[in-house]
Symmetry: C2
Subunit: 157 residues, 2 copies
DNA sequence: TATTGTTATACTCTATAACTATA
DNA sequence: TATAGTTATAGAGTATAACAATA
């Protein structure tokens, strides 16, 4: 019979998995950053475009909430994006304090490019993964996300 | 017979999986950031400690390579960490141009805390996942990392 | 001549606090 | 009185370029 000492301890499987997750996050983040940089964007600015693309026009306040960032920060990001002609600030129809932000034509086109680049990446990453494995992977990811949000109440979307 | 129009297109499974991956990265990153902030660290500084903890003392040059950051950047990070008494700069034994950086006792203790917090998180995240599923998940993660590095030559560690 | 780390400078993201215009 | 966005100020991370000491 094997005693505990016969099995080299090593890191727990859960820790290994989390390490992989962190590694993947890093590589993915770096890659995305280069992707947006190629189009003259930063990650933070791309995040603004992305939010507007997927949720439509909104106030700066809403944008700040969506991006989990201060209103002041949004002002700066929008100033830069507006100077590049990627977003448009308009008067809010009913609240004269508020500003309604939307994508310009250029902004929409650029974001669509980002989106399609992302789809290409997804295809390249998962093309040779059997459908069953991909399904299981996606399911596990969703589970971990739920678990993570449960563990850390601050981290909720 | 069903025509193509009968099946609502929807995003490809691969894109969904990538979206989940990005979501998980975000939540995980935010959580880690709060974790290090609680201990008076920033993500970048924690990265320095982490590298020294896992690879031992090294020159600033090596650190810059490891972190994929400019030497100038390392100078700034080390200045801050040194002021907090977490790292030590020593003369390099054979190259008088170079500086050998290592963790102080406090630095080592703090990093060990981070490490154990990470292990706790891993346990919390994966505790209720059946071993088989966890294995499959880890394997898929490794595959995707490999694929990602293959797709993007710049992203190699 | 090349390399190590630093000083000088600049840009971006981020935050808090005070202020203006509106609700 | 509270809210939307801005100005003012500050700190952190990052980069490039020029420079000193050393290889």
């Amino acid at each position: 019979m094997k005693s505990l000492h016969d099995m080299p301890e090593g890191p727990a499987p859960a820790s290994v998995s989390l390490d992989r997750l962190f590694e993947l996050s890093e590589v993915l983040g770096a890659m995305m950053q280069r992707g947006v940089a190629e189009r003259g964007l930063t990650t933070a600015r791309a995040g603004v475009l992305w939010a507007l693309f997927h949720e439509g026009p909104m106030t700066q306040r809403a944008l700040a909430g969506r991006l989990r960032v201060t209103p002041r920060n949004v002002t700066g990001l929008l100033d830069a994006l507006q100077e590049d002609g990627l977003v448009v600030r308009e008067a809010h129809p009913s609240d004269r304090r508020a500003t309604l932000v939307s994508l310009s034509g250029d902004g929409r086109a650029l974001t669509a490019e980002l989106r399609s680049g992302r789809d290409d990446l997804a295809a390249a990453l998962f093309a040779d993964m059997p459908p069953g494995q991909l399904d299981a992977f996606t399911t596990s990811l969703a589970q971990v996300i739920d678990r993570l949000k449960a563990v850390d109440p601050t981290g909720r979307a």
